[in-house]
Symmetry: C2
Subunit: 405 residues, 2 copies
């Protein structure tokens, strides 16, 4: 199950980026499970990574390499997360980087590794290395859709977003792909997002953009509250579009930033829409909070409540469960008589109880939709935060009870 | 589904406590949904209540009445929580107290109301009032098992515990009942626990006992992380056993306290064993933590992880999910290379990865059991905390997707 059409966009090629896909047979023979990004010399890369304390070996290595050198290759495998694999896992990630660097003649530190899949099993390095020549032979600027499919695990469909922005006399392409359907509550980024542009972006600004836009998109989605060990989101700027350097003061920054924000948000939402077992796409819109912390506490408490999520699955406007979740969010001194809870444009709760003009019919009409906004107004301040999630269905249990078997 | 035999004990009658059960037809005609506790004059009552900011009307009224007078009656209904019902809900709870007090000739403040069931619907006061005479006519010291059944909602079986302690020349009876199967993550108590003893307990000590023992039992269980609006746990001491006053310095306090702690723990565990859709009873045993806060953060993060809970349902020793949950618990500076994770007596994780002597066969053997302990040793200090939970099954989704229909 998944919410919305979920078709891939037409991708604008990004000058300076080529993608190659191959089958290493990591988990299933014949499955495309290896993706290589080749980045033109001079490309700049910024990234954000999981905050899980037990981050996977490739996350550790990618962080180190990013600090040491300008990346020329991103190497991504599915089917095995290389997480919880100790010292051996670090060696395995490094061996993969070395093998690819040997094939193409760059330093090992110019390769960033990314892995996703089962935790705790050794990475089958030999299989990956054997498939690298095929991935390199496949390199093409037109392979975005194939790469989106090549990084899928329990995803039911590939995820991508693309924009072309004309600013002044330069034309900027932005394309990105993402994956993820379970173990999703990114806490710096999601597993995995790759966005590239051919614009020429000042390095400090690039890091600011990935951090800020990642925070507003990937860091605002949750499927099951389980922050992965392998989350990463990378933003590449190749500078190959021939345009001038974009800095904090550039007049072209605002439109570029807006397009980039769109791409981030679309990729993040695509993950929620394809959440394991998802039948609903749900926006938690918390407003009039006294602080960002309390707005997010309320939004996430509701978004993670198994009772709210199963009611959403049942299309049941069970507002008592929403109310109870708001009440246990850990925000001191909330006034039940002041707050309002809305389901779309229907007010559920006002003056401490069910809104006078509420009827089950009106609530049901909103609940029956595939895309639902739960609005919660705390009447304590002016802060607004939104978080996106999905419902909790039989299929979520089936998928996760049967994942390894 | 439920875990373990779950048979009720033989209840020791508690001198000074009589229980009456009746059918008010609140949700289903003919269902026993009204329970009255009659407490002998001179009984002392202490209680703990939900920390949900939006506590239900009966919780507010029970707190007030407890502060104003020595309770003589506990009035409990199922089928309607009288929560999210605003000013009207408070009036309804008070009307019930007044009606019962009128029947028996005590002050309204000597009645404590408790409600459990659907949130957000008006309490059918007239139905409750009409059933009160039948409940009062039913009053008997031998009705503990019937009362345990009378407070059930989505529970599949009644829950009770009983002990008799001989200390010096006095004999003390302790009996208790509890209910709850969903919306369970008590944060001061659970919905609902009632424990009574015929011992004569000094009032300050009684409050200390309910707070401390409630904290170690009801406050250490979680089914779905959803703290109810109606949680309450009451401890009654009638002083009718003819024994001397028990104070902090009494030599009979330690054995009495131990028996009372057993009753609390048994009642709390009974709720987990009957968790909605539960097929496993799971102990999270976090040891060698640097603080209670971090031990509980780790224990609850694992206990609430939908991925861990669905793996438990599948009897899948998927230790990577446990590892990932520990890593996202918000404890800074954990050393993955130091920690150990155990499944029963089988070590899963050591030295940053899968333990050398681990095999799927050994992990599977533990996972196949109905009662499972997940041990997590953080190697940071000397604090140990335990939390009890259950798995997450198809039936949980079914029960909660269909609760109101």
């Amino acid at each position: 199950m998944a919410v919305g059409p979920g078709t891939l966009p037409e991708f604008f090629p990004v000058a300076g980026v080529r993608l190659g896909i191959a089958s290493a047979g990591i988990k299933k023979p014949g499955r495309k499970d290896l993706v290589v990004f080749e980045l033109a010399e001079g490309s700049r890369v910024a990234g954000i990574f999981t905050t899980n304390q037990f981050c996977a070996a490739p996350v550790t290595v990618a962080r180190q390499h990013l600090a040491e050198a300008a990346p020329r290759y991103l190497l991504i495998n599915t089917g095995n997360a290389n997480a919880g694999t100790g010292e051996q896992g670090l060696n395995d990630a490094l061996r993969c980087c070395s093998a690819l660097s040997g094939e193409v003649g760059v330093a090992a530190a110019e390769v960033l590794p990314f892995s996703t899949g089962v935790i705790g099993e050794s990475l089958p390095v030999d299989k990956l290395v054997a498939a690298m020549p095929a991935a390199l032979a496949d390199l093409s600027a037109g392979n975005w859709a194939q790469a989106a499919a090549g990084i899928m695990t329990t995803d039911t469909r590939p995820k991508g977003a693309s924009r072309q922005v004309k600013v002044g006399d330069q034309v900027i392409a932005i394309s990105g792909i993402s994956k993820g359907a379970g173990m999703i509550r990114p806490n710096m980024a999601t597993m995995l997002g790759f966005v590239a542009t051919d614009a020429n972006i000042e390095p400090g600004l690039l890091q600011t953009l990935v951090a800020e836009l990642g925070d507003q998109s990937f860091n605002r989605i949750t499927i099951d509250s389980d922050t992965s060990t392998n989350d990463a989101c990378m933003l590449v700027a190749t500078g190959q579009n021939g345009g001038e350097l974009i800095t904090t003061d550039s007049p072209c920054l605002p439109p570029f930033r807006a397009a980039l924000a769109d791409v981030f948000m679309e990729l993040a939402h695509a993950i929620v829409r394809d959440g394991e077992g998802a039948t609903k796409f749900v926006t938690l819109d918390v407003s009039e909070a006294a602080s960002q912390d309390e707005a997010l506490a309320v939004a996430y408490t509701v978004a993670h409540s198994p009772l709210v999520k199963t009611a959403l699955y049942a299309s049941d406007p069970n507002w008592g469960r929403i109310l109870a979740a708001v009440g246990r969010a850990g925000v001191e001194g909330m006034d039940l008589n002041a707050i309002e809870i809305w389901l779309g444009d229907v007010c559920l709760v006002r003056n401490g109880g069910r809104a006078d003009d509420y009827s089950e019919e009106r609530g049901q009409a909103v609940m029956d939709r595939e895309e639902i906004t739960i609005g919660i107004s705390l009447k304590r301040g002016a802060v607004r935060e939104r978080v996106w999630t999905c419902d909790f269905s039989h299929d979520y249990v089936t998928i996760n009870a049967e994942y390894r078997t």
